[in-house]
Symmetry: C2
Subunit: 363 residues, 2 copies
């Protein structure tokens, strides 16, 4: 039987050159990660907001289901200083009418620390020793990467421009994730202004493949085997897909997120900082449009994420899309509802078919 | 010898599924169009600002050099009403210090008509009967497309979203150009807000291929054979490349445009309306940054293009990049200096090599 394989498979120990993208906030549920890895892709936890003890529970649960490689992903973000009371009040005022529209009181001021301690997370990751650790929004110290390498953990970092990719390569990562502008979720930019580093996946992948000497994994707008074949044609050694996995049966995305994603017929995504404090792409909804249009006051990342948390949860619970962060990439209309195993098998089959179609173009 | 061929080659009568993108304002010089077509691609004139008599001269000149198919491209834009004097004064005031910095007087108010008459252009195109006519920024009446079809002219229109592609298909064009957000030059959006229709080439091509039943040509960020192979993998039947041809020896781009394009090492492009009145992507320079940052007053398209004309010409002549519209796509750093014939041959060879590399991924 014909199989699809690249150097990334050898590097990560996966059957397929496909990464199920880490998506924080509960989307990358244990069942999703386990099923993706078991099916031959690299299942990934989005641990941006997860405390070390909870990480351990998640990893152990997946290990009870599969021996296949998994990936743990972190946000590299300096802990922001405590937010001044006036700033909190302004940001709370901007959200109060939305909270009230769901019958909820205005949110309480957020208290530091706003996010789990990154060093504690990374030390737990070393203890858990997954096959792969990836990170977003920054770089990691060379000594941290070295320690992971000594434990046999492969590391990858996100780049949204050539400079970030070169920087990551020099720091010692094993591979680069080229995050094109199509990608859903948080922009990984950390050396350039995120709004000036909105290069499309096709252009960015090729630019980064030409600029570095380590494997590149393309991300952004890839939803099927044709998309995977396309980035392999660009010289990427693999593809990372997030949005494609959101509607999967095992995904932890709220039902309303899955429903609106499956209903998309056009690229109606937009980028907003108003949910978390950092720019991220998702399906446009009332909250994103109004908060962007009003340039509403917001807290620094990830304090804003905490401040909007109860609003997002309540909106999702009510089946109301207005205040849910429905992260999605620009090819959202290609989303399909199936099990994770079916999706991975379909992606493999479609990629092989795309390669067959390409071979037939030579005459 | 192995050749690369798709249904687009059969449709357009070209040897290769490659379109040298039309670029108005003198870039697509006669020598460039002739050399691109002679080499097996589809050479294209950007006739947005060209009067019918000048079109005839250009086409006859190319026909003296090659019998190969050529394409004439037009901007579909309703003639704007005459601009009010106050509006003219504000727009002129915003430009005066730039004109003065080059030792030039402030520009005179612009007089309607601001652009050649589209119907006169299209009637001349019918008389000239090129193999292909493409258009940008709108659609053409079905009867016009029918008349062209009866004369054996194949027609193609630009889409920046699914809705525009479906609309073009219904109007009777022979193929769609999917213009991804990476693309240099003017955004072709005409049914959606151009800033909300900035879908990356990878996502957009796949969305449009899935939405229509006629051939799709992908445009935006494609600079080499790997990029061509990538869009073929997405199901496109061809690729349109503009930026790649700008540094060619035969291109009519100003020397300073070629020079800064070849020096690009990162995607430093941005989108501005300030040169022409409609959003277009090019290498960021002083004019674009300052005029965007100040949200400077501007005239409607294409009156603004006329108002900035002498500034752009003088800046280019002085070898000063500050006020030149250096249109370029997001993969600008992949630009190469060669003859047009060398570029087309290189693109063909690289595409075949990319297909070979892909075939080797199956094991």
């Amino acid at each position: 039987m014909t199989r699809l394989s690249t150097s990334l498979c050898d590097l990560l120990g996966t059957r397929l050159p496909i990464i199920q993208a880490p998506m924080a906030g509960g989307i990358t549920a244990r069942a999703l990660v386990a099923a993706a890895s078991q099916a031959g892709a690299l299942g990934s936890f989005g641990f941006a907001y997860t405390q070390p003890e909870a990480m351990a529970g998640d990893v152990q649960a997946v290990r009870a289901l599969t021996d296949a490689p998994i990936n743990l992903n972190f946000f590299v973000n300096d802990a922001p200083p405590p937010v001044a009371p006036e700033t909190q009040h302004a940001a709370i005022d901007a959200l109060t009418r939305y909270y009230q529209s769901l019958g909820l009181p205005a949110p309480a001021p957020v208290r530091a620390p706003y996010a789990p301690d990154l060093n504690a997370q990374l030390s737990m990751a070393e203890d858990l020793t997954p096959a792969v650790v990836t990170f977003h929004l920054g770089d990691l110290p060379a000594e941290r990467l070295k320690r992971m390498r000594e434990r046999g953990i492969k590391t990858g970092g996100s780049a949204t421009c050539v400079e970030e990719a070169r920087h990551l390569e020099a720091s010692g990562v094993d591979f680069i994730i080229a995050q094109g502008a199509e990608a859903g979720g948080h922009r990984g930019s950390y050396l350039r202004n995120p709004y000036e580093a909105m290069t499309g996946t096709l252009a960015l992948t090729r630019l980064i493949v030409r600029a570095v000497n380590i494997p590149v994994v393309a991300a952004g707008g890839i939803m099927d085997g044709a998309g995977i074949a396309a980035v392999l044609a660009l010289g990427a050694q693999g593809a990372q897909l997030g949005t494609a996995f959101i509607p999967c049966v095992e995904s932890g995305a709220p039902a309303v997120h899955k429903q609106y994603l499956l209903a998309a017929r056009e690229d109606t995504t937009m980028v907003t900082e108003k949910f978390s404090g950092k720019p991220a792409r998702g399906l446009a909804n009332r909250f994103m449009r109004e908060m962007n249009d009003n340039n509403a006051p917001q807290l620094v990342f990830p304090a804003q994420n905490t401040l909007t948390g109860a609003l997002r949860v309540a909106s999702a619970k009510a089946g109301n899309p207005d205040f849910v962060s429905m992260w999605a990439g620009q090819a959202a209309p290609l989303a399909r509802e199936m099990t994770t195993a079916q999706l991975v098998a379909t992606l493999e089959q479609e990629t092989l078919e795309a390669l067959d179609r390409l071979a037939a173009l030579r005459r």
